[in-house]
C-alpha cells in the first residue's frame, strides 16, 4: 500500500485538511436536478450497452453453463465422490460458499433496512444496488447448500408439508432452522427489494416502448402514485425495514449454529452467533464497495448519483464493522487459546503452524490489519478504486476465514486416526460457477431494473436544504414523515 505513505502525517496533508471546506453542494442531496432529468439519466444508464458489456456477459454465460450447470449435473450423476469431501471433513467448500454468499447478502439488508431505520440519508442512491446483492447472493447460497446434499433430488423432504407417510422433518436439527430462516430471509428481502422498486418501475413504464414497456407495465402492477398507494407502500416499507433487521441477525446466527451446535473442537463455540453476523457484514460491506465502484465505472451517469461522500460513509461503516469483527474474532480465539483443552490446543497449533497456516495469517491480515491500517484515512476512503481493493481483500480474507472454519477445522477431531487434509476438487469449478452466476444476474439486472431508486433520491433532495445560520450556509435535513 505505497499510496498511504504520502498521506500519513505529512504536513501537506494536514494543511489541506484544514483548508478544505466541504462544499455541501458537492453532495448528492444538495445538488438536486429536476426529477425528469434524473429519470432520463437512469433510463439511459439502462439502455446504454457497449460491446464490452456483451463480451463479459457472454463469458459469464459460458462459465455459468459449464461451471455451474454442467459441473453440478455431472456431480449429481456421479455422486459426491467427484468433490473433495471425505472423512473427517464431510463438509467442504459447498458450506464455505453458502456461508460466504449469505454473508454477502447481509450487507444489502444492512444498508436498506438498518440505515433506513436510522435515517442515514447517504444510503439513498445505493439501497437498491445493495438489496439486489442480497437477493442474488441468497440464490447462490441456496444453490450451494443444495449442491452439498448427497441426494439433492429428495431435498423436499426437509419442507414441512403434510405427506402420505405422515412424516415431518426434525426441528431439533439446526439445518431445519436454517431452512426456515433462509426461506424467510429470501422471501423477505425479495419483497423488500420489490416494494420500493414499484414506483421506479412505474417511471420506467412511462418512458419505455416495446417489450420493455410490457415488461415494466406488468411488474409495476398499475402503480400511479395516488395518496393511498403511497401510504400503503410507505407503511409496508417501514414494517419491512424494522422487521427484516431481526430476521437478518437471526439468519446468520442460525447458520453459525450449524457449526456451534456440533461437538467438534473449534466449532462448539458460544460466540459463533455474533461472530458470524459481524463477519457477514464485514464481507458484505466490502462487496458493496466493489459493486458501487464497478457501477460507477461502467454505467452512464452513475457518477452523478454515487459520489465521494457515499464511499466515505461506506468506508467508515467498513471500519466500524472491522473493529467489531476483530473484537469477536479475538474473543473466539483467546478463549480457545487460553483454555488448555487438548483438542482445541491441537487445532490451534495446527492452524498456526500447519499446512494451512498461510491462509490463517492472510485471513488476519486482510480482515483486520489492512482495514485498521487504511480505513481511518479519509483520502483512502474517498478513492473509489482503493476502497474497492480493500473490499476485495476483505472478501478474500473472509472467504479464507470460512474455509478455515469449515474444512480445515474439521480435519482435527477427537479421533487422531482420522485426521486428514481436505482438497477441493470439483468444488473449485462450482465456486467459479456461483460467482459467475451472481455477476451474470447482476449484469442483466443492471440493464433491466433501474439501479438507482430515483424517487427516494428526489425525496432526499426535497428534505435537504441549506439554511442560513449566522454567516454560514448550514446543511439541514428535515423530516417529511
Amino acid at each position: 500500500m505505497a499510496v498511504t505513505s504520502g498521506y500519513l502525517g505529512s504536513e501537506k496533508a494536514h494543511a489541506e485538511h484544514h483548508e478544505e471546506e466541504h462544499d455541501p453542494r458537492e453532495s448528492l442531496m444538495y445538488d438536486p436536478l429536476p426529477r425528469g432529468v434524473m429519470n432520463d439519466m437512469v433510463m439511459e444508464s439502462m439502455h446504454t450497452t457497449s460491446w464490452k458489456f456483451w463480451v463479459v456477459l457472454g463469458i459469464l454465460a459460458f462459465l455459468v453453463a459449464t461451471c455451474f450447470f454442467y459441473a453440478w449435473g455431472y456431480m449429481i450423476a456421479k455422486g459426491l465422490g467427484v468433490a473433495g469431501v471425505m472423512r473427517p471433513a464431510y463438509w467442504g467448500v459447498f458450506l464455505v460458499n453458502t456461508v460466504f454468499w449469505i454473508g454477502i447478502s447481509h450487507a444489502g439488508t444492512f444498508i436498506s433496512a438498518i440505515l433506513r431505520v436510522f435515517k442515514a440519508e447517504f444510503r439513498r442512491p445505493f439501497t437498491r444496488a445493495a438489496e439486489l446483492m442480497t437477493t442474488f447472493g441468497l440464490i447462490q447460497a441456496g444453490a450451494s447448500i443444495f449442491m452439498h446434499l448427497g441426494r439433492v433430488w429428495l431435498a423436499y423432504w426437509m419442507f414441512p408439508i403434510p405427506n402420505e407417510r405422515q412424516l415431518w422433518p426434525n426441528f431439533h436439527s439446526p439445518l431445519m432452522w436454517d431452512l426456515l430462516a433462509i426461506t424467510t430471509y429470501v422471501l423477505g428481502s425479495t419483497m423488500y427489494l420489490f416494494l420500493p422498486l414499484i414506483p421506479d418501475l412505474a417511471m420506467a413504464r412511462d418512458r419505455s416502448t416495446g417489450w420493455r414497456k410490457t415488461f415494466y407495465r406488468i411488474l409495476a402492477l398499475g402503480f400511479r402514485g395516488t395518496e393511498g398507494e403511497w401510504r400503503h407502500l410507505t407503511t409496508a416499507m417501514n414494517i419491512f425495514a424494522f422487521a427484516i433487521i431481526p430476521v437478518m441477525f437471526s439468519v446468520h446466527t442460525i447458520v453459525s449454529w450449524d457449526f456451534a451446535m456440533a461437538m467438534r473442537p473449534g466449532w462448539s463455540s458460544t460466540v459463533f452467533g455474533p461472530y458470524f453476523v459481524l463477519g457477514a457484514l464485514h464481507s458484505g460491506m466490502g462487496a458493496v464497495a466493489i459493486v458501487l465502484v464497478i457501477m460507477r465505472a461502467t454505467m452512464k451517469h452513475m457518477d452523478y448519483f454515487i459520489r465521494k461522500e457515499h464511499f466515505d460513509a461506506l468506508g467508515k461503516l467498513m471500519m466500524i464493522v472491522s473493529f467489531a469483527y476483530a473484537y469477536f474474532f479475538f474473543n473466539d480465539y483467546i478463549v480457545q487459546w487460553y483454555g488448555g483443552d487438548k483438542w482445541t490446543d491441537t487445532l490451534l497449533h495446527w492452524l498456526e503452524e500447519g499446512p494451512m497456516a498461510w491462509m490463517f495469517y492472510q485471513m488476519v491480515a486482510f480482515n483486520i490489519v489492512i482495514p485498521f491500517l487504511t480505513l481511518w484515512n479519509k483520502r483512502i476512503r474517498t478513492t473509489p478504486w482503493l476502497l474497492a481493493l480493500i473490499g476485495l481483500l476483505i472478501n478474500v480474507g473472509m472467504y479464507w476465514e470460512r474455509y478455515i472454519i469449515v474444512p480445515v477445522t474439521l480435519s482435527i477431531n477427537r479421533m487422531p486416526f482420522t485426521w486428514r487434509l481436505y482438497e477441493p476438487r470439483i468444488e473449485i469449478f462450482l465456486t467459479i460457477g456461483t460467482f459467475s452466476m451472481f455477476l451474470l444476474f447482476y449484469m442483466i439486472a443492471s440493464r433491466l431494473i433501474p439501479l438507482i431508486p430515483v424517487w427516494e433520491v428526489q425525496e432526499g433532495q426535497m428534505v435537504h436544504t441549506l439554511r442560513k445560520v449566522g454567516k454560514a450556509q448550514v446543511p439541514t435535513v428535515s423530516e417529511f414523515e
Partner: protein, 262 residues
C-alpha cells in the same frame, strides 16, 4: 402411528437418561486380546454388503468400513512401540450426538432395541450426523461403489459383477448419497428375536452374535444383552476394573466398553 405416551426414561430430559444408560445390546472389546488382524473388518464388510471403494478413494479417507482398527505408535526412535490395537465402530450411544442433527429423521433412536438406527431410505445426505459423531464412525456412499464398472467383468459386452453373488440377502445395498454405519448387525438381532418369539422364549445369551465378534480369532469382541445380568457381556462390563468408555467426558453413553491393560 402416534404414540402419545412417551416414557421419559427412554427419551426425554437429559437427566432422565442417566438411569437407562445401561442399554440393551452392548459390546465389550478387549484391546489386550486384539491382534489387529482385521478379520472383524472383513467379516463386517461381507455381512453388511459393504462395497470396495478402491485405492484412490480409500487413501483419501473414503473407506466404507463400519469398523476400523486404529494403530498408533508411541515413543521416539529407536524405542518405538505400538499401542494396543483399537477397534473403533459405532458406539450406539444412548445420547447420540448424530441423532438430533439430522433434518429428516434418518438417524433416530430405536426405543425397542436401544440402538442408533440409520434409515437409508430417508437420508438425503447432509452429512451433519457424520460431522457430529465424536468417534467418526459414520461413513458415506460417495459414489455408487457397488456398481462401479471397475468391479465388473466384461462378459460378451455385458457388465457382470461377480461380487454381487456374495451379497447378504438380509441387508440392503446402499446407493450413492446415503450415510451408513455399524448397526450391531441388526438383521441378526431381528432374526434371533423372531426365532425366540416364535418359540415363546427370550433370546439366550450366545445364541447369535455380530459378524465382527463371530470372526474374531481371539474372542476380543464380546456381544450380547447388557441388561441381562447373566450374560457374558454384562459380566465383563460390570466386573472389570480396567474397563473404560471412549470420550466418556462427552456424555454420549456409549454401549461399548473397552478393556485395556488388564
Amino acid at each position: 402411528m402416534s404414540n402419545l405416551s412417551i416414557d421419559l426414561n427412554h427419551v426425554g430430559a437429559k437427566g432422565a437418561l442417566a438411569e437407562e444408560a445401561e442399554g440393551k445390546w452392548g459390546m465389550v472389546i478387549d484391546q489386550d486380546l486384539c491382534t489387529g488382524c482385521q478379520a472383524c473388518v472383513a467379516a463386517c464388510a461381507m455381512e453388511n454388503n459393504l462395497p470396495f471403494v478402491m485405492e484412490e478413494d480409500a487413501a483419501y479417507g473414503r473407506t466404507l468400513h463400519w469398523i476400523r482398527i486404529e494403530r498408533f505408535w508411541e515413543g521416539e526412535y529407536p524405542e518405538v512401540r505400538t499401542t494396543p490395537y483399537q477397534p473403533m465402530l459405532c458406539q450406539q450411544c444412548g445420547s447420540a450426538p448424530c441423532e438430533p442433527v439430522c433434518p429428516v429423521f434418518a438417524s433416530v433412536h430405536s426405543q425397542a432395541q436401544e440402538l442408533n438406527l440409520q434409515v437409508y431410505n430417508r437420508c438425503i445426505g447432509t452429512r451433519y450426523c457424520a460431522n457430529n459423531c465424536p468417534y467418526q464412525v459414520r461413513t458415506f456412499n460417495w459414489r455408487d461403489y457397488a456398481i462401479e464398472p471397475f468391479h465388473a467383468n466384461d462378459f460378451e459386452g455385458q457388465l457382470v459383477y461377480p461380487l454381487h453373488n456374495q451379497f447378504n440377502p438380509d441387508v440392503t445395498v446402499r446407493r450413492r448419497g446415503v450415510m451408513e454405519k455399524c448397526t450391531f448387525c441388526i438383521q441378526r438381532i431381528h432374526k434371533a428375536e423372531d426365532k425366540a418369539k416364535s418359540e415363546g422364549r427370550d433370546v439366550e445369551d450366545g445364541e447369535f452374535t455380530t459378524a465382527c465378534a463371530q470372526a474374531c480369532p481371539t474372542n476380543a469382541i464380546t456381544f450380547g444383552l447388557l441388561d441381562n445380568p447373566e450374560s457374558l457381556v454384562n459380566q465383563l462390563t460390570k466386573h472389570q476394573e480396567h474397563g473404560y468408555h471412549h470420550l466418556e467426558e462427552l456424555n454420549t453413553q456409549p454401549r461399548i466398553t473397552y478393556l485395556k491393560e488388564g
